[in-house]
Amino acid sequence: MKQRLLVLSLLLIAGSAGASSTEKPEAMPEWESDKLELALAHANTGNPVEGKRLHHYLYCSACHGDNGESPSRNWPSLTGQKPDYVMKTLLDYKQSMRRDHYRKAFVMTRMAGLLNESQMADLAAYYAQQPAPAIPPSTNVKLAKQGAKLANRGDDKRGITACSACHGEHGESGVTPDTPALAGQTPEYFIQAMTMYKQGMRTSDVGGVMRMYSKSLTEAEIKALAHYYASLGSKAGAPKP
């Protein structure tokens, strides 16, 4: 069984790496903030034990790793993420509010379609309980250094607030519970997310904050930021439960 999954997921890696398209995106639905608040009311009531069971039973582990820490550059890590953000994201997918490589996030839209809200909260509780991801192997130290300044000071001239103001001094999330943690996040995923905000392809940021802050960033800056946040991952590596 393990071997089968391995074969299958290797094929998937090959599949997703080449994905790209120049098609014009169709408009996606967006949240109204009061509705979002209501939807997240129970985000913190999940049962992590049930979350762990679901993580394996629903094969989330096949992509996101044994405990939610991504084993590959193809997928984001979920460990150490805030429950509100995970809950919101899963609702986003379920409502087809996110794209993956300029298409709707095909896998996750389907996966989230299998979940009810209490299961989403259980999964969110489980991921929140796991230690933040270790520094991903593809992290480039030199690039990380370049990204630090922009992340922590922003750029007044371009009206870019320091990322740390919202995402936390160490990328651990911060101001609001639906702001994602970024520390140790897979750089490839980070770059994809930023590029999609910049191009207006990811519209799940309520009020358009991320679309605004990413607008004037260059490709090189986005890359540096990705490696900076990756470098904030835990050094020892997350102990597996």
Binding site: L8, A14, G15, S16, Y57, L58, Y59, A62, R110
Partner: protein, 429 residues
């Protein structure tokens, strides 16, 4: 006696000793010409991978069509989830990127002694090695009343993608509410063993939406089929299989499913199990190697091409390699994946032979993904080795497990889609 026969008679060692140095140099300098007959899955893969394995050789691919329509995902086209354009590929990349000389013509004759193939438009191509990947053709007249004309007009097989696929689609759309779709599933061996059952599934799913009282009946020449356990499970979960309201009825040979007679005009098939009058009949004909393989004298009594399983060189004609659906593949199913895998083995063997090396031990893979519904995949993954000139399955991997996790078949459906895109690129781009 020509030089080749001389070499053979003397044995490799003796022959080498006889050759003088200038002759050796001349043999090396001459650019080998490899001709590939058929630019489908097997032939296109062979052209591309031969270029990678033997950068210096001259490669000519002979394929009649300019835009190749793959069968892969053609079942999705039949029910409108994809279009023919989505499964059509050109030879542009093979030409531009891999410097393949693509000739849009048909091979109609062959001289194994002079080592030439004859083209339909006139002219001959001389080869040093020939790769033949002509796919399948159909056996008509196996039962009374089933003719080529019937297949082309009223009882589509839709087993080569293109006009036949669209004919089936049109017939499905024109079916009366509550009508019957009848499929005849072919005897072994045939192209794409899970294909009929995938098609039956997707049509049942399409009926749920567009023709909810319609039924799918499968008359089968066989008592078992590949991935039948997960397929039947999927049918239970999705289409009420094994209940009185099942949308799919499968009649195996043991229950009289083998067709005996066809009345094409009345869309009726007669079998021991009864007389089945349907609104659409998808008669998937029994199959044999592509006609050109017969013309070339490469087939055995069963209608397939016997080959050395390690090199895919024909057991009948030297310097001719047959791959894909047309060859005898033993336990390897006739799939695009297999054709692709075999192409890679055959061209490596050719490159080795041209370089005077002995071809190595091949390892081949087949992975078949099928859909039992748009969000429900079933798969089989196998690895093969050659033992005593037979292709045998290794015990690893296997068929989709049956679990109660709803994510499992869903993910298999996702893999299916990703795989298709990657795979087509591996063959054509």
């Amino acid at each position: 006696m020509n030089r080749r026969e001389l070499l053979k008679a003397l044995g490799a060692g003796g022959a080498l000793a006889l050759l003088n140095a200038p002759a050796m140099a001349a043999a090396k300098n001459k650019t080998a010409h490899i001709v590939i007959v058929g630019g489908g899955i097997g032939g296109a893969t062979a052209a591309k991978y031969l270029r990678l394995a033997a950068p210096g050789v001259k490669i000519t691919l002979v394929e009649p069509v300019k835009r190749f329509i793959t069968c892969l995902r053609s079942n999705d086209v039949a029910v409108g989830h994809m279009t023919l354009d989505d499964i059509t590929f050109t030879y542009d990349a093979l030409r531009a990127r891999y410097k393949i000389n693509v000739v849009h013509d048909r091979v109609i004759g062959f001289d194994p002694d002079k080592k030439t193939v004859q083209l339909d438009a006139g002219g001959k191509l001389a080869y040093d090695k020939l790769v033949v990947s002509p796919g399948i053709d159909f056996i008509y007249g196996d039962v009374e009343g089933y003719t080529r004309e019937a297949a082309e007009t009223t009882l589509p097989h839709a087993w080569k993608a293109g006009p036949q696929t669209l004919l089936l689609k049109k017939q499905l759309e024109a079916m009366p509410q509550g009508g019957t779709f009848l499929m005849v599933a072919p005897p072994n061996p045939f192209r794409c063993p899970p294909g009929p059952y995938e098609r039956a599934s997707l049509i049942a799913e399409w009926f749920q939406k567009h023709n909810p009282r319609a039924k799918v009946i499968i008359l089968d020449h066989k008592d078992a089929f590949t991935k039948d356990v997960p397929f039947k499970k999927a049918w239970e979960r999705l289409y009420g299989f094994n209940t009185p309201n099942s949308m799919i009825e499968w009649i195996p040979a043991a229950k009289g499913g083998t067709p005996k007679r066809v009345d094409a005009a009345n869309r009726t098939v007669i079998a021991a199990a009864g007389t089945f009058k349907a609104d659409v009949v998808n008669y998937i004909s029994p199959q044999r190697a592509g006609t050109v393989a017969f013309r070339m004298g490469l087939t055995n009594r069963e209608g397939w091409c016997p080959v050395n399983r390690r090199t895919f060189e024909s057991e009948i004609v030297r310097d001719v390699h047959v791959i894909g659906d047309a060859c005898v593949g033993d336990s390897m199913p006739k799939s695009g994946y297999s054709a692709n895998s075999q192409a890679k083995v055959a061209v490596q063997a050719i490159a080795d032979m041209l370089a005077g090396k002995t071809p190595g031990e091949p390892s081949m893979i087949n992975v078949c993904y099928s859909l039992a519904g748009q969000d429900y995949g079933v798969s089989i993954a196998d690895i093969f080795k050659v033992v005593d000139n037979r292709i045998v399955k290794l015990p690893a991997s296997g068929v989709s497990p049956i679990t109660d996790s709803p994510a499992q078949p869903l993910l298999e459906a996702v893999y299916q889609r990703n795989w298709h895109r990657t795979f087509a690129n591996d063959c054509f781009a």
